[in-house]
């Protein structure tokens, strides 16, 4: 007989005994592989979504509110490009009236179809991806959301973009709403690029595809686009692509024009944005040092000598650019018309009233007193109408009374002579002032200069100079300087999908206890089995078979069983993974929606997972088996299964107390170094170890008491001694139970509730009742008084208290709803001074040197942000004080310091920053799109009012409680999964208790038989057994509960723990009952045999 045959014979003969080992291995492998496969599946699904979302797009040129020529797409060498016009709209189904805000409207032509996902694109359908004429295509997400079908009419409402942000002074009339109607002729799935979106999220964006030309017309942006899709055929680096885009650009793409100004014998550079972006102005001044800046602004009033001239243009310029001005001008120069109107002469004081934005971004009227330095005739350059920039609503007005300047104008003040002046001289400035003074008075966040003039070269035709300047300018400009930002979305999207939230790690973490319990139970069963075959091992050794060889055979048998169990576990893991994915799916997909996660089993994961598990299992089996192999042959021949406890009087368990003390310290202080979860688990582990060490000490003390003859023999005493007889078994059972209780209780305490206390300033809702998001960015327009009613609630405004507007900056949703890896969460900018005054939201922690309130965000050299603790810990995985890098409006990088955390707030997934600082980096940012509202009416009534009034804004209205509940729902789903796995772990752990009970009874049946023979009643025997079980149970529950509560103390408030006490109590009772049940089953299984052994004994 060969060793192999011997091994196989053993496997077959002891198959029943090995069944438990097989089951334990299958369970452990299933859980491990389930976690890994679920991670794989999520990752693969996200990669699939990223591929569907971006198709063949490598990079995009994003204009946002800056528009470039659609023809630029044809001018970029070595790259496939498609122009897109992107706006946000509210979509309404004409038939049902159902509406959805925040819909992505894409103006596309046939070139868009060329970017459809490579693997799915139907080459013949490429042209069909672009709608024609009055057709709309919608994606299936929008169709599902609105219950929209083909051939139905859809109405889109969106803002007509201005040349500049609507809240800029002199930005022209308030937002103009455009409606576009079309028939839905196709519903696009992923294969038709319906998933296209630039947002790094797995959630689909509701999208409508509109013919590019039609959207251009509707927006008044003929031939324009604000997004360019690019596939990089040439150099892979972004710099190379950027350079090639620049080569295709004209000045029109940068919004610049170069015109001759004959009266000044100069060339004037103008920007379509009225005010030159500072980087553009700086670049031009650097490239063309002779540049002479000009600022023309509107004064509400020029007053002197008790007289007033209303609504006049004034120009700040150097004498070099306006030779009619005195050199070293100190004061103002009036033209003859204004001097006459005011009766002013040199030496008089004039008062200049003008609009400006205050720190809170409100339009306020300011005044400046300036002396009159001179009066110039209204002739020549002083009478040149070209000083006036193309102020929207002003420059082309027929009459002064027709002005729609974007600032409040009292038309009653406009006199006949003012109209006459407008008719004759249009916007010719009535007053000139020094450039520097103009910068001080009229500079705003959008820029300072309204024109940049370059003197013509001597003896050079003006046209030649104009062309030279234009050429120079074009060579100097880059898309980035003009605010056209090139984004490497392909790589970024794929990277975000490739390294999303580590679900494998997360689920592994959640399953750790269950796996540990399965491994421990399997090892225990294997050990039982080895003990059962002690005599065999002893015999083999006695017959001269080397102990190492016997051990190897045992391990090989173990390997066969564990490998078979793991194989079975791998099969079961497929089903188990689907269950896990289903649980995860419930977080993100509504009922009836398409499945987000698809099962994906990578062979490497399966093989690696099985091999890893088998490796760990074999290591544990080796650890528990080698001790047996070390026993002397004679002892094993005697079939000894007793453990030999060292019986020296045990020292005081200082080291056990040390573990506990270290655990306490870790709990109290560790969170600063390790983070909250790290400190919690470290403290928990140390406390569990300390508890188990104490238990071990108690067992040893009892064993020592036996040898010194201590203690009267009673069922209880006998039970105590029995627990110590097989200390390792008792330790495994108590350890499993304690770990299970620790995890289940701790996780239960982390269950999130909240939202009900929204009225409290210190709550996650900050005392605000509603969270409103509008499709349109809302500005005060030309209504300074509207600052308190940006939402234009009108009469309904009284129902709501304070309204806190928030600007939405760049970045991605980093809340728990987004599975992708987000490195730059969306910025939310608001008036932090107001929040500081209110003391709103629970600020949990701030960086050193920062005041623990909202004022912190206005301190320090770099932009600071508060972030929700959940986002910081789980999404960003950063610590306070670390910095994230953002790109400003011109693509320049700047740091944002994570200065503080908010505890469970409505701001999860965002960074909250101060509005003033935000606007320094994003001056072009439009108005607010998020609003927090207090409510003085009921929630239901308030919501109804808001939904009714804000329908036009495409607003979504949610109570802050609902928002918090949604976040908590995600976290609680994770906790539910944790509980599910923890619960299985408890089952396994308590099954271990049952097995140990059964095994002990089986091994000690002769003892019980002796007791029986000696006339000891069965009830006493039962009490012995039940005492044993109760001891393990009490120690397990006690250690676990204590460790959990101590580890939780610093993390959760006493109130939170108190709130969870009922739930924790219920769990502990359930665990105890379950463990008791298993023990009872084990007891039932063997007690009869044990008592009937009397006959055998006899």
């Amino acid at each position: 007989m060969t060793g192999t045959a011997f091994l196989l014979r053993g496997l077959w003969f002891f198959r029943r005994s090995y069944l438990g080992v097989l089951a334990g291995a299958a369970l452990g492998a299933m859980v491990l592989l389930g976690a890994l496969l679920a991670g794989d599946s999520v990752q693969a699904s996200l990669r699939q979504v990223a591929a569907a979302r971006l198709g063949k797009v490598d990079a995009v040129l994003v204009g946002g509110d800056r528009f470039f020529r659609a023809a630029l797409a044809d001018a970029v060498p070595q790259a496939m490009a498609a122009p897109v016009l992107l706006v946000k709209a509210t979509a309404t189904v004409q038939r049902s009236g159902r509406a959805l805000g925040g819909v992505q409207v894409l103006g596309v032509d046939r070139r868009f179809g060329d970017f459809a996902p490579a693997s799915r694109a139907d080459p013949n359908a490429a042209g069909g991806l672009a709608p024609h004429e009055r057709e709309f295509f919608v994606n299936d997400h929008l169709a599902r959301s609105l219950d929209l079908r083909s051939n139905e009419t859809l109405v889109l409402r969106f803002d007509k973009p201005g040349v500049i942000a609507r809240d800029a002074p002199l930005a022209g009339k308030a937002a103009e709403l455009v409606a576009l109607r079309g028939e839905v002729s196709a519903i696009c799935g992923d294969e038709r690029f319906g998933r296209f979106s630039l947002e790094t999220t797995q959630l689909p964006a509701a999208t409508v595809f509109v013919p590019l030309e039609r959207l251009q017309q509707a927006l008044g942006m003929a031939g324009k686009a604000n997004l360019l899709l690019l596939q990089n055929h040439g150099a892979a680096d972004a710099a190379g692509l950027s350079e090639r885009i620049a080569r295709g650009c004209t000045l029109a793409d940068y919004g610049l024009t170069v015109e001759a100004v004959p009266l000044a014998n100069a060339v004037e550079i103008r920007t379509a944005r009225i005010f030159f972006d500072r980087p553009v102005a700086a670049l031009i001044q650097q490239r063309i040092p002779a540049t002479q800046p000009v600022i023309t602004y509107m004064a509400n009033t020029i007053a002197a000598n008790g007289r007033q001239t209303p609504y006049s243009m004034v120009t700040a310029v150097t004498a070099a650019a306006a030779p009619f001005l005195p050199q070293a001008l100190d004061g103002v120069v009036l033209n003859a018309w204004a001097a006459d109107d005011l009766g002013a002469k040199p030496g008089d004081e004039v008062r200049l009233d003008y609009y400006a934005l205050d720190a809170a971004n409100r339009l306020v009227e300011r005044s400046a007193q300036l002396p009159v330095a001179a009066v110039v005739p209204l002739t020549g350059l002083a009478a040149d109408q070209r000083w006036l920039p193309d102020f929207p609503g002003v420059a082309n007005a027929e009459h002064a009374a027709d002005w729609d300047a974007g600032v409040p104008i009292d038309l009653k003040r406009i006199r006949a002579k003012d109209e006459a002046y407008w008719d004759a001289h249009r916007g010719t400035p009535k007053l000139f002032l020094p450039l520097q003074r103009g910068r001080e008075l009229f500079g705003n966040r959008w820029g300072e200069f309204t024109a940049l003039r370059v003197p013509a070269a001597p003896a050079t035709p003006l046209e030649t100079s104009r062309m030279t300047v234009a050429t120079d300018l074009l060579a100097a400009m880059t898309p980035a300087v003009a605010g056209l930002v090139l984004q490497d979305v392909g790589a970024a999207g794929r990277a975000a999908a490739a390294s999303p939230v580590d679900f494998a790690g997360l689920l592994l973490g959640m399953s750790l206890f269950l796996m540990a319990a399965a491994v421990a139970l399997t090892a225990l069963l294997f050990r039982f089995h080895i003990e059962q075959r002690n005599r065999e091992s002893g015999l083999l050794a006695a017959l001269g078979i080397a102990p190492g060889k016997v051990l190897r055979w045992r391990l090989l048998e173990g390997l066969c069983v564990v490998a078979a169990g793991s194989g079975l576990g791998a099969l079961l893991a497929v089903g188990y993974t689907r269950i896990l994915l289903g649980l995860l799916e419930s977080i993100w997909s509504g009922p009836g929606g398409p499945r987000m996660f698809r099962f994906h089993g990578a062979p490497a994961t399966l093989v690696g997972g099985v091999a890893g598990f088998v490796g760990v299992m074999m290591l544990v089996i080796w650890l528990v088996t080698r001790k047996q192999a070390r026993q002397s042959v004679s002892l094993r021949l005697d079939a000894g299964t007793e453990e030999v406890l060292r019986t020296a009087a045990p020292a005081l368990p200082w080291w056990a107390l040390g573990w506990c003390a270290a655990g306490g310290v870790a709990a109290l202080t560790g969170s600063g170094v390790l983070g909250v979860p790290g400190a919690f688990f470290l403290a928990g582990c140390l406390l569990l170890l300390g508890g188990l060490a104490a238990f071990r000490w108690v067992l040893r003390r009892r064993a020592a008491a036996t040898t010194t003859g201590g203690g009267e023999l009673s069922p209880r005493r006998l039970a105590e001694l029995n627990c110590g007889r097989r200390a390792t078994r008792s330790m495994v059972v108590v350890g499993s139970l304690a770990s299970a209780v620790f995890l289940v209780v701790a996780v239960a305490a982390f269950r999130k509730t909240g939202g009900a206390d929204w009225q409290q300033r210190g709550s996650g809702a900050g005392g605000f009742a509603f969270w409103v998001e509008t499709t349109r960015a809302l500005t005060r327009g030309n209504r300074p008084q509207a600052a308190d009613d940006l939402l234009e609630l009108g009469a309904a405004r009284a129902q709501f208290g304070r309204v806190l507007p928030l600007r939405v900056g760049p970045g991605d949703d980093a809340s728990c709803f987004n599975l992708n890896s987000v490195s730059r969460p969306r910025l939310l900018a608001t008036d932090t001074a107001t929040l500081a005054t209110l003391g709103a939201f629970p600020i949990k922690q701030v960086v050193a040197g920062c005041s623990k309130n909202w004022n912190c965000l206005r301190e320090g050299a770099v932009m600071r942000a508060f972030v929700d603790e959940t986002t910081l810990l789980w999404v960003l995985k950063k610590k306070l004080g670390e910095r994230l890098v953002y790109q400003d409006e011109w693509g320049r990088e700047f740091p944002v310091e994570l200065a503080g955390t908010l505890d469970g707030s409505v701001f999860q997934g965002c960074l909250v920053v101060d509005e003033a600082r935000f606007l320094q980096h994003y001056p072009g940012a439009g108005g607010a799109r998020v609003f927090l509202l207090e409510s003085s009416a009921g929630l239901a009534a308030g919501r109804a009012t808001l939904q009714q009034v804000l329908a036009e804004q495409g607003a979504t209205v949610a109570t802050t409680g609902e928002r918090l509940a949604a976040f908590h729902g995600v976290e609680n789903t994770y906790i539910a999964i944790f509980h599910l796995l923890g619960g299985l772990g408890v089952l396994v752990g308590s099954a271990g208790l049952g097995l140990v009970t059964a095994r002990n009874l089986q091994e000690r049946r002769y003892e019980f038989a002796i007791l029986h023979a000696l006339g000891v009643p069965g009830a006493v025997t039962r009490r012995v057994v039940l005492h044993e079980v109760a001891q393990c149970l009490c120690w397990g529950l006690g250690i676990g509960l204590l460790a959990a509560l101590v580890a939780l103390m610093p993390t959760l408030s006493a109130g939170a723990i108190a709130n969870s006490l009922a739930w924790i109590g219920l769990l502990v009772v359930a665990i105890a009952a379950n463990a008791w049940l298993w023990s009872w089953l084990g007891y039932r299984r063997h007690i009869r045999d044990a008592l009937s052994a009397t006959r055998e004994f006899g």
Binding site: M1, G3, F6, R9, G10, W12, F13, F14, R535, E536, G538, L539, L540, A541, A542, L543, G544, I545, A546, P547, G548, K549, S632, V633, S634, L637, T647, A703, T706, T707
Partner: protein, 228 residues
């Protein structure tokens, strides 16, 4: 030539109650081909002595030489090799593996490997041995299908597979009835007689002890010749 030379042998067990001296300064010399019975009261250390002679356990002091080889200091692997090549062990409990047939149980020592004899020859010898102990009709039976005497005889056959120079038997008839005891005793005597196997038999059975050439009594950790 002496097969067994034991000098100053001691064995001390550390127990919860303190050190227990089982053997102390034990001396023993057994010539090749001799059959020795060791008797003594329970707990006198007979099995301990047998374990030490069989290299199943290590002595606390003294030397044990078997066929001139000091086995007291052998490593576990070397001791196993020694048992596999030179010793035959017969136990009170049959110690047959329940998963193996009678023939396979007899062949068990071959699992140690390194036997020069071809497997076919060993198997044939196992059959012969089983025939010799009267179990040739039980070759493919499982242990539970055997009676107590048959199991013990199978154990004897297994002990002889390696043609041992020394056979150690621990209470071989302790669990057997009178008839089976007689059978086993006859078998052991025949082996000693015919094969010249040196034999140490620990027994309470005075009849068996008398049939063996020499009887030693173990008491207070030492051996002395017993009256026959």
């Amino acid at each position: 030539m002496a097969m067994i030379e034991v000098a100053g042998l001691s064995k001390i067990y550390e127990t919860p109650g303190g050190a227990v001296r089982v053997l102390e300064g034990l001396e023993l010399a057994v010539a090749a081909g001799e059959a020795v019975a060791i008797v003594g009261p329970s707990g006198s250390g007979k099995t301990t002595l047998l374990n030490l002679l069989g290299a199943l356990d290590r002595p606390s002091g003294g030397t044990i030489r078997i066929a001139g080889e000091d086995i007291g200091g052998l490593s576990a692997a070397a001791a196993a090799r020694f048992r596999n090549r030179a010793l035959g062990l017969v136990f009170q409990h049959h110690h047959l593996l329940p998963q193996l047939t009678v023939l396979e149980n007899v062949l068990l020592p071959r699992l140690a490997g390194g036997w020069e004899e071809p497997a076919v020859a060993t198997t044939q010898r196992a059959r012969d041995l089983l025939g010799k102990v009267g179990l040739d009709h039980r070759l493919n039976h499982l242990p539970w299908q055997l009676s107590g005497g048959e199991m013990l005889r199978a154990g004897v056959a297994r002990a002889l597979l390696n043609r041992p120079r020394l056979l150690l038997a621990d209470e071989p008839t302790g669990l057997l009835d009178q008839a089976a005891t007689a059978q086993v005793a006859e078998l052991l005597l025949q082996l000693n007689r015919d094969e010249g196997v040196t034999m140490i038999v620990v027994t309470h059975n005075t009849a068996l002890a008398r049939q063996l050439g020499r009887t030693l009594e173990l008491a207070h950790g030492k051996l002395r010749e017993a009256a026959r």
